[in-house]
Symmetry: C2
DNA sequence: GTCTATAGCATGATAGAC
DNA sequence: GTCTATCATGCTATAGAC
């Protein structure tokens, strides 16, 4: 029962197993019987979401590259293939979707080595494929600069995912601002422009 | 003794007081005597850094606006006034500086309400002032879009601060990549381009 | 497979001598 | 102000009946 997902997204990974089983109406010992440990439970929660997500990203990238034929793909299209699947997944199933968004954001933000290792396994190929696509789409940008820009892009994406909205710090509570389609529209425009920024002085 | 800062940056705010006092060669009871609680210690650690940082940001923005005279300020300059002070502080004092960077990143990433409240108090005026500056520099961008872009900019900044480098996920350990001047150069270019992105479709 | 009960340990906080 | 010793509580994990 992965209403553990909800708890991790809401409270962070420091949340207790007791908190989780209370919400899931399950038993504490059962968690260890089925998953082995809390760390393994966290991995299981992520694996369930990461695999289809990254498969979708790669499929979209394939489509973009095929449509472009021999030409380099458009930067916007590549950015969209990277970002859209995450927000899509968030949109698909209402409230649960937004939980997933926050969960992903938290994951990207966490520096826990064990979690990073897990992400690297699932995300490594995605990163390689998109790096190659961006190299083709942005031949005038040096590989080193490109790596930085992808780094910033991931940061902007992560932040957009797990912080309620742009006004979270300004005090206005805008719960309606969480529509993933709106976020996507703005985020793709922002990131694509950043990727295409003129050469640094 | 705020080598608590180091611990929070390295291990997160879940780190135990015992871990901190061991590193500081201090006493557990003394922490409660001087600060009252662990939460109060966290606040103290942040307040020490946030106040001068935000003062510097506002001073830089003042300078930028004065230099521009009656004209709207350049987007790059405004972005730099927002981003540079944090990276500057990180550069000033070597290893300790990088600790501060990671600390700030962690703070922006955390959704803990108490911490958010603290940040809002310190960061609220900064956000208002920079919002106004960006409105003048980017008159063709709607206020709503602008809010989103500032949101993404903060996300990219946060991610750049507390993730070691652009290759952290790709496996290559590039410890030399942490030079704040390099980060700043790339980050300002990326964010400024994102802020100036064409109107969304 | 599922449960209760509990072991074993780490935590934040405090009392009270000095 | 600083220390030792300790309290009360929460945690993950496991043993063992059913």
């Amino acid at each position: 029962l992965d209403a553990a997902e909800q708890a991790f997204a809401d409270e962070g990974f420091g949340v207790s197993l007791r908190h989780i089983i209370a919400a899931a109406d399950a038993n504490l010992a059962a968690v260890h019987y089925h998953f082995g440990s809390k760390a393994a439970l966290i991995e299981a929660v992520f694996a369930r979401r990461l695999e289809p997500l990254n498969r979708r990203r790669l499929a979209l990238l394939d489509a973009v590259e095929e449509a472009a034929g021999p030409h380099p793909p458009a930067v916007e299209k590549v950015v969209e293939a990277l970002i859209a699947p995450a927000l899509e997944m968030a949109h698909r199933n209402g409230e649960a979707g937004r939980v997933v968004m926050r969960l992903f954001g938290r994951m990207l933000a966490e520096s826990d080595p064990a979690l990073t290792e897990l992400v690297r396994g699932q995300f490594g190929e995605v990163l390689r494929r998109f790096t190659r696509a961006f190299r083709r789409a942005l031949p005038h940008v040096s590989p080193r600069t490109l790596a930085w820009r992808m780094h910033f892009a991931i940061g902007a994406m992560a932040h957009a995912m797990y912080v309620p909205g742009p006004l979270a710090l300004s005090g206005t509570r805008s719960s309606s601002a969480q529509d993933p389609r709106i976020i996507r529209k703005h985020l793709v425009a922002f990131v694509a422009a950043g990727m295409k920024a003129p050469a640094v002085r």
